[in-house]
Amino acid sequence: MLDAAWIIPLIPALSFVAILFFGKKMPRQGSEIGIVAIATTFVLSCVAAVQWIQRVNRYEGSHQGLGALGKSLMLSTQEHGAVVKPVVHSITWWQNGAFKFGIGIQIDGLAVMMLFVVTLISLLVHIYSTAYMKGDIRFTYFYAALSLFTASMLILVVAPNTLQLLVGWELVGLCSFMLIGHWWEEGANTNAALKAFLTTRTGDIGLMIGVIITFFAAGTFNIVGINQYALSPGADHTLMVVGASCLLIGIIGKSGQFPLHTWLPDAMAGPTPVSALIHAATMVVAGVYLGARVYGVFWSGFNIGDGGMNPMAVIGAITILIGAALAFVQDDIKKVLAYSTVSQLGYMVMGLGVGSWVGAVFHLFTHAFFKALLFLGAGSVSHSGSHHSFDMKKDMGGLRKYMPITFWTFLIGSAALAGIAPLAGFWSKDEILATAGQGGFELFAIVGLVGAFLTAAYMTRCVYLTFFGEYRGHGQPHESPKAITVPLIVLAVFSVFAGLANAAPLGLEKFGEYVEPKFAFPPVIVPTFDYGLAGASLFIVLSAIGVGVFLWFREEEMHAFKGLTKRNVLARGGYALLVNKYYLDDLYEGVIVAGIKGPIARASYWINQNVIDAVVKGAGLAARAIAGGTYTLDQDVLDAGYDGLARETGASGGLLSRVQTGRLQWYALVSFAAIGVFSLALVIFR
C-alpha cells in the first residue's frame, strides 16, 4: 500500500467526477458514492498506516540500538543508510527547459498520520452530512465538493515536491471557496467565501515565492531535497531566511494566523460539516502541514535550534492570545469555535517555531478530533436543538436535558480542548510547552500557559450558554438522528484516547517514534516530561474553568448554579474557588475578567474588526479607489491622449482638405508635379 498510495487521492477525485455526472440519478443523490469512496480511502489509509509502522519496526529490528538513537541523533552523512527513508515515487509530470517536474507520492510517518486523520474526519463528515444536509437544494453538489475537497487535501498530503503541494494547496482553497459559499443566494455567504479565498490567496503569494526561492536555492522541488539542502552546511543562509519568511506568509494565510486570521470566523457561513472539515482536517491544517513538511527550511532559516525568538514562534504566540481573547465575546457558537481554532493553530505554529515538531504535529493530530467533534456537536445543536440558529444567547441554553449524547460528547470535546488530563489536548499541548521551556523559548511557554487559561475559560462559557440554564429557543429540541450522533461518539472516543499515542509518563511515545521523519530532518530536541509544568498547566486549566463557572454560572439564579456544582465534574472542580469568592471577587471580576472580558477582548475585537479587518477591507476599498483612479487615468489621460492625437490629425486633415478640390485634373496636376519633383530629386541625388 505504501508504494501504491497514489490510489488514495485518486479515489475521491474519481468519486468527485462520478458524483458530478451520475450523482443526481443515484437513489441517495450521490451521497452513497462519496461515502463508499471515502470509506475505501479510509481503509486504505489505515492499511498504509499499519504498513508504515511495520516498516519502521522492521527497520528497527534490523538496526537494534541505532533506531532508538536515530531520532535524537543529528543527521549526518555517515548515518544516511541508517535511517528510515520515506517512500518516494515520482513520475515526470512536465518538463520545461532543463527542469523536470514530478508528480507522485512521498509516504512517511507524517503523511501516513495525515492520511489517517483526513480520511477519518472526512468519512465522519460525509456520514454526518447525510442527516445534516438532508433536503438541501444542492445536496449532490455538496457531496461532489466534499469529495474534491478530500481529494485535494490528500494530493497535498502525499506531495513529494513543493509544486504538487502548491497544486493541492490551491485546490483546497478552491473547494473551501465552493463550500463556504455553498448557499450562494445570500450575499453574506458569498462575501465570506470571497474573503476566504482572497485572504488565503494573499498568503499564497508568499507560498509561491517561497517555493520559487527554495527551488532555486536547492535546485529541486523535491521536499526531501529541499530539506537536505537546507540542513546541509553549504546552504545559502540569506536565501533560506527569505524563503522561510515567504513560506511563513503562506502558512499565515492558510492557517489563519495573525494578522490574516479574519477570514476564518467569516468562513462559518458555510454548512457546519464543512466548517468541521475545514477546521479540523483540511484547509487550515494545510498551513501547519506545510511547516512540518519543509521544516528544514524553517529550522535553518530561522535558526530555531538556537532558541530565543523567531518570527514563526512570535506569530504563533500572538495568534494564541488574540484568538483566545476573541472567543470570549462571541454569541455565535460556531464563532467561538472558529476563534478557538485560530488560537489552537497558533499553538501548532508556535510549536513549530520553538522546535517542537512532534508537539505541533501531535497537536494537529489531537486537535483534529476534538475540534471536529465540537463543530459537529454545534451542528447537531443547531440542527435539532435551536432551529438552525447558532446564537447561544438567544436560541440555546439548557439543552443537556434534551440532547444527552450531544451534550456529553461536546463536554468531552471541550475538556480535551481545554487540556484536561488525560484527554487528548492535554498531552499534545504539554509537549509543545515542555519543548518550548527546554529549548530556550521560556517566554513562549508562558504565553502557552496563558492561552491554556483562556481556552479553558471560554469553553466553559460556551458549554454553559449552550447546555445549561433555561432553554431560550422557540423550537422543540430533541436528540439528533444516528447519522449525527454516531460520528460524535466516534470522535469523542478519539478525543479521549488519541493523546495516549504520545504520553511520555505512561511510557507511550509511539507517535514520535513512527511519525517523526528520520531522514533529512533537523536535530529537534525531545523534551523530558516535566511533571511540574504539566501540573501547573493542569492547575491553570482547572482554575480557569473554575473562574468560568464562577463568572457565568453565577449570573443565573443560584439554585441552578448550586445544583450544578453537585452534579457536574467541571463545576465541582471550580467549586473550591467559588467558596472563596469574596476576596477573589474583586480580583477576578474587577481586574482579570473585567479586563479580559471587557476592554482587552473588546479592544482586540474592535481592533480585529476595525483595524485588521478594516485593513483587509480598506485594502479592498483602496484597491477599488486606486482602480477607479487608474481607470480614470486610462480613460482620461492615456486614451484621451490617443484621441487627441487623432483629433489633431483630423484638424490638419481639415487644413489639407482645402486642397481637395474634388477635381480630377487638379489631382492629376499635383501628381505630375510631384512626379517631376521626385524625378528631379532622383537625377540630382543619384
Binding site: 496636376l669 505630375f672 508635379a673 512626379i675 517631376g676 537625377v683
Partner: protein, 167 residues
C-alpha cells in the same frame, strides 16, 4: 542615313506643331484633325525605325478607328463645332509649368543617359519588324498577355455599353 534623318526632322517638326495644336486649338474638330497628323507622324516614325507591322496597325486602329470614335464623341456631346474660348480650364498656367518642368527633367535625363547612343538601321532591325516575327512573338512568348488583353477588350466593350446605356 541622311535621307532618313531629313525625313525624321520633317516629320518630327510637323508632329510637334500638330501636337501643340491638339492641346491649344479652340475648335474641337480641329483638335481631332491635328491628332490625325500626330498619329500619322508616329506611324511614319515607326516605319523609319523598321517597325512596319506596328506602323500599319497604328494607321488602322488609331486613324481608322480611334479618331472616328472621337468624332462620334464630339458629336454626341454636342460640342461647339466652331471656335470656343472655353475649352481650357483655369489651371492652364500651372499645367504648362508642370509639363515643361517634366519635359526639362526628362530631356536632361535622356541626354545624360543616352547621350551618344545611336541606332543602326540594318537588316537585323528590319527583320524584327516583319509581321511574321511579330506574330510569332505574340502567339508564342506573349500568348498569355495576349489573351488577357483580349479579355480586357471584351470587358471594356461590355463596360462601355453598361456605362453609356440610357436606363
Amino acid at each position: 542615313m541622311i535621307a532618313q534623318n531629313i525625313a525624321f526632322w520633317i516629320i518630327a517638326v510637323a508632329m510637334g506643331f500638330a501636337a501643340i495644336g491638339v492641346v491649344r486649338t479652340r475648335n474641337i474638330v480641329h483638335a481631332a484633325l491635328y491628332l490625325v497628323v500626330v498619329l500619322a507622324g508616329v506611324a511614319a516614325q515607326y516605319i523609319l525605325l523598321g517597325a512596319e507591322f506596328v506602323a500599319w496597325v497604328q494607321v488602322l486602329i488609331y486613324i481608322g478607328a480611334v479618331v472616328i470614335l472621337f468624332l462620334f464623341g464630339i458629336m454626341l456631346t454636342r460640342a461647339p463645332m466652331e471656335g470656343d474660348s472655353d475649352l481650357d480650364n483655369d489651371q492652364r498656367f500651372p499645367a504648362a509649368v508642370a509639363a515643361l518642368f517634366l519635359l526639362g527633367v526628362l530631356v536632361v535625363l535622356l541626354l545624360d543617359a543616352f547621350g551618344g547612343t545611336k541606332i543602326k538601321l540594318d537588316a537585323a532591325v528590319l527583320a524584327t519588324g516583319k509581321t511574321a516575327v511579330v506574330g510569332d512573338a505574340i502567339f508564342r512568348q506573349y500568348v498569355v498577355p495576349f489573351e488577357v488583353v483580349s479579355m480586357l477588350l471584351l470587358a471594356a466593350l461590355v463596360g462601355a455599353v453598361v456605362i453609356a446605356r440610357r436606363d
